[in-house]
């Protein structure tokens, strides 16, 4: 066991982990932040995507110990403290970008990274292309793409 400290959704946290403990396990089991999901064990699905220092990463492929001192944002940290949803969250609801909701946290975190990389005016091609690391089995992506396009625009306001 080793001790690890990081900032998660603005809060300083410390925990004891094994060297092999994955970030996603640390978030889900130690911190009980269960919004970050695990959909695979080969780093293919993106259900586990979070932000490390503002950049999207797969929490299933990151060791907790690698994140010493890092600033982590998870889906639970997106809405304003008062409860006002982030425009990207709002867009997913407005455009029916989710069905079972399992891929959704990863999709939203990934969408924000697409905006970070490409700005607020996204076309369908860019979104589909850059959503390559996320799998959704429910929606056929149609409404996810619409939601990301709209969410990106709304973020500019």
């Amino acid at each position: 066991m080793a001790s690890v400290s990081m900032t998660v959704n603005g809060k300083a946290v410390t925990g004891d982990v094994e060297p092999r403990t994955l970030l996603v396990q640390f978030l889900r089991e130690n911190l009980r932040l269960t919004g970050t999901h695990v959909g695979c064990d080969t780093s293919q699905c993106g259900a586990c995507i979070i932000h490390i220092d503002g950049i999207a990463a797969k929490a299933c492929t990151t060791l907790a110990l690698q994140c010493e001192g890092a600033k982590i944002t998870t889906i639970e940290g997106l809405a304003e403290p008062g409860g006002k949803l982030h425009p990207m969250q709002e867009a997913f609801r407005e455009h029916h970008g989710l069905q079972c909701g399992y891929c959704t946290p990863g999709m939203i975190m990934s969408a924000l990274d697409i905006v970070r990389r490409n700005g607020n005016n996204l076309d369908e091609h860019t979104i589909r292309d850059q959503l390559d690391g996320n799998i959704c089995r429910c929606t056929g992506y149609h409404n996810i793409v619409k939601a990301i396009e709209a969410g990106a625009k709304a973020m500019a306001k």
Partner: protein, 787 residues
């Protein structure tokens, strides 16, 4: 239409918790003192277990217990079962082999569980699982359904000769043979409906908690039908009496059929929890899911269609071998029989049909219902035959379809089903307009200039949904009735809870069911909540699959609401001092006919509970009604999908450039949700057609065992879809709904393959039509080649 009533695209109630990361899926639930189960699984497809040594594993840190199949047998935990009896042609019952939750003497597929480690943490459990020593005597395996019945093929289960579960048939062979003998044209096809892995994004999970104080067991699991799970685990597996077992299916991350079934792991967790007297949780990792979730499809079929000189279909015959895997999963026997052969008439007037189905065991994962279940296989057979026949006869494929459409209803097919309503010309016409079929030739020429071969493929599908009239399915072998239940509880303040036996795992019932209640009772949408997925809260129900929750589940709610109205009118009559017969109910208000005397719904609800206006002898207090609705017929959603795609001449890569879907689902409660269901279904069907395929090597190793090798559609593999609707009401249920959950997956594979073969000029191409396969086919076809 009100902003939240029937037909409105209301935004979903359930979304807030999902987009904020507050969904509660099974793995998110924890219990104090929780332990973790890690299964030891067979690496061999077929082997005798000579011995299992758990002594080293027991000594590992954090290990609480290590349990094996021998102990399971000692504790008399029953086998898993298949609940649908199919009889062979000769009248003999299907041959169901024993399926213990932990194999004790023999393993029959890779991933078969032989032992379970119960440990404090997953990591400790995994470490200990490494130490379980299993001595196997490896046996030869058979994985190909077409080879399973051969002489000399490995025998998988004792006493089940030729690995044959049943040899079933439907229809009149004599009539069909006569029609073929007289036919002007016969089209023949050999078709493999490729094996698929459902891959709901949430892996299966189970958390069992035994309370020694009350002797009660609680199971949280990823189930589409928690009551059925409780019934089977109680009555057949003998885990606990039904009233001592509570099953909770909380938020479930997609199912597509694969979470209907009762699986070994949940049985083992329950058993282990009682043994170690602590909660036991198991969460599948994706690698386990690939090996142990029930797979879908896996049919090998020879099919023929007979036509007259004018392209009128005279008869259809098919012989199918269905792979059911190593064990018979919960509903596996019904999928290649009554959910398949009964749909071989498609949208067409086909005078005679004969279908034979042999179901076989192989050393592969069990196969059961996956989105569409039997109906995609039927649609693929019919729509491929029609397409190829049209091309062979030089008739336009749309035209050949039109010549054969059923236009008069009700229509009795030769394969059990009685279609009650539909307008197949309307959906074909509308789809052809949206897809601009007229402009296709021009687009094809343009594509050719870019080095692409453009193709267009139709699929005019039909399905039988609203599963299902209990008496009918009972006569066909079902072990259960397929009605649905609802309880409507009106609270004293006028808010409403609906307890439904349906279960949502992405379908948005919390929204659509509330829309129905809000409209029917004239109360705000926000004042309605839908409760599902907990056997302690909800009366017995059958769950969600087979596109049944609208047509059957909502019909039960309608019936309960009717009863609520009757009772509420009685209460209102006392309140308004009028005769019960004079009370009218509209827009949430009770009025005395011809007067301005009225009472709001909320006041009536309160009065029902305070009961100051009537005595218990006159009227019982309270406002709560239950209904069990049993449908009188299946429903028959149908429609037309048109796929337009480009094949790259150099690489064989397929790009879908345009997808049109026009479906007739009867009454629509929420078009936004319906469209979402269509999109998702198309994506899975396109996945089947272009990239998905579960392959075992000859030794029974699954070589497409991860998302690296089993490719599912990603965003850039798909276009946006054009979705349209036509509507004929289903006459068999009060709302006129037909169901929409499976249509996309049923329709789309045939549309894709019809389009590819149209583009490259071959008769057939096997699924999945990967770039490699299309390229290889191109080399053999007459189509232009790369320079």
């Amino acid at each position: 239409m009100s902003a939240t009533g029937i037909g409105a695209p209301v935004r979903r109630k359930e979304d807030f918790r999902f987009i904020t990361g507050q969904g509660q899926y099974t793995d998110d639930v924890t219990r104090p003192g929780e332990t973790r189960a890690v299964f030891v699984r067979s690496p061999h497809a077929h082997a005798k277990i000579k011995s299992i040594d758990v002594s080293a594993a027991r000594k590992m840190p954090g290990v609480i217990d290590v349990l094996t199949g021998a102990q399971l047998a000692t504790d008399k935990i029953g086998n898993l079962i298949c609940g649908w009896m199919i009889h062979s042609k000769d009248g003999s019952p299907m041959k169901m082999a024993a399926h213990p939750a932990l194999a004790a003497t023999k393993v029959n597929c890779v991933g078969d569980a032989v032992a379970v480690v119960i440990a404090e943490t997953i990591a400790q459990g995994k470490d200990a699982a490494e130490k379980v020593k299993v001595d196997y005597e490896v046996l030869p395996a058979v994985v190909d359904p077409a080879k399973a019945q051969a002489k000399g093929a490995p025998q998988i289960h004792p006493d089940i000769e030729n690995n044959t579960i049943y040899q079933w048939h439907l229809g009149e062979k004599k009539d069909v043979d006569a029609a073929f003998a007289a036919a002007k044209h016969v089209t023949k096809l050999d078709i493999v409906n490729n094996r698929l892995v459902p891959n709901a994004m949430e892996p299966r999970a189970a958390l069992a908690d035994y309370d020694a104080g009350t002797d009660n067991l609680t199971l949280w699991n990823t189930s589409q039908n928690p009551h059925v799970a409780r019934l089977v685990i109680s009555a057949f597996i003998g885990m606990a009496p039904e009233h001592k077992l509570r099953v909770i299916a909380p938020d479930v991350g997609g199912g597509f059929g694969s979470k209907i079934f009762i699986y070994p792991e949940e049985v083992v967790c329950l058993w282990a929890s009682r043994k170690v007297k602590r909660p036991v949780k198991w969460t599948s990792d994706r690698s386990e899911a690939f090996l142990t979730d029930a797979h879908g499809r896996d049919h090998v079929t020879h099919a023929e269609m007979a036509l007259d000189a004018n392209g009128k279909i005279l008869a259809l015959r098919a012989k199918t071998i269905a792979n059911l895997g190593a064990y018979m999963s919960t509903f596996s026997s019904s999928v290649p029989t009554y959910l398949y052969a009964t749909l071989l008439s498609g949208q067409y007037n086909i005078p005679s049909i004969y279908c034979e189905v042999d179901a076989v065991y192989t050393n592969t994962a069990p196969v059961d219902a996956y989105r569409g279940a039997g109906r995609p296989e039927a649609t693929f057979v019919v729509e491929r035959l029609v397409e190829v026949a049209a091309r062979q006869m030089g008739i336009d494929p749309a035209d050949l379809r039109r010549r054969n459409f059923i236009t008069a209803f009700p229509h009795q097919t030769p394969v059990i089903m009685a279609y009650d309503a539909g307008d197949y010309n309307a959906s074909l016409k509308k789809a052809m307009e949206i897809a601009d079929v007229k402009g296709f030739a021009k687009r094809k020429r343009e594509a050719a200039r870019r080095g692409k071969l453009r193709g267009l493929g139709y699929s005019t599908y039909i399905e039988a949904c609203g599963i299902a009239p209990s008496q009918a399915v009972g006569s066909l072998g079902a072990g259960v009735g397929l009605w649905e239940s609802a309880e409507v509880r009106v609270n004293p303040t006028g808010s409403v809870e609906v307890l439904t036996g349906s279960h949502a795992h992405g379908q948005g019932h919390e929204t659509t069911f509330a829309q129905l209640v809000s409209e029917r009772l004239g109360i705000p949408f926000e004042n309605v909540s839908i409760v599902h997925g907990d056997t302690d809260k909800v009366q017995f129900g059958m769950g969600t699959y087979g596109s049944r929750s609208g047509a059957v589940g909502m019909s039960a709610i309608v019936k309960a609401l009717d009863k609520i109205e009757i009772k509420a009118k009685k209460v209102a009559a006392f309140m308004l001092e009028a005769a019960e017969g004079d009370i009218e109910f509209k827009d949430g208000k009770f009025t005395v006919a011809g007067t301005d005397k009225s009472a709001a719904f909320g006041d009536v609800a309160l009065n029902a509970y305070i009961a100051h206006k009537f005595t218990g002898a006159e009227l019982e207090p309270g406002l709560k009604e239950t209904s069990f609705y049993d449908p009188t017929n299946f429903t028959f959603p149908a429609g037309c999908h048109i796929c337009e795609l480009d094949v790259d001449i150099e690489t064989g890569r397929v790009d879908i450039v345009n997808w049109t879907a026009v479906d007739d689902f009867g009454t629509i409660i929420n078009p936004m949700i319906v469209e979402g269901q269509v999109h998702g279904g198309i994506a899975q069907g396109v996945g089947q057609a272009l990239m998905e395929g579960a392959f075992y090597d000859a030794a029974g190793q699954l070589v497409t065992g991860s998302m690296m090798d089993y490719t599912m559609p990603r965003a850039h593999d798909l276009p946006s879809f054009h979705v349209g609707l036509t509507e004929t009401k289903a006459p068999s249920n009060p709302l006129g709904m037909k169901g929409c959950g499976e249509a996309g997956a049923i329709a789309s594979p045939a549309a894709v393959i019809n389009a590819i073969t149209d583009a490259i000029g071959t008769e057939h191409i096997a699924m999945p039509a990967t770039a490699n396969a299309v390229w290889a086919a191109l080399q053999k076809s007459q189509a232009p080649k790369a320079a």
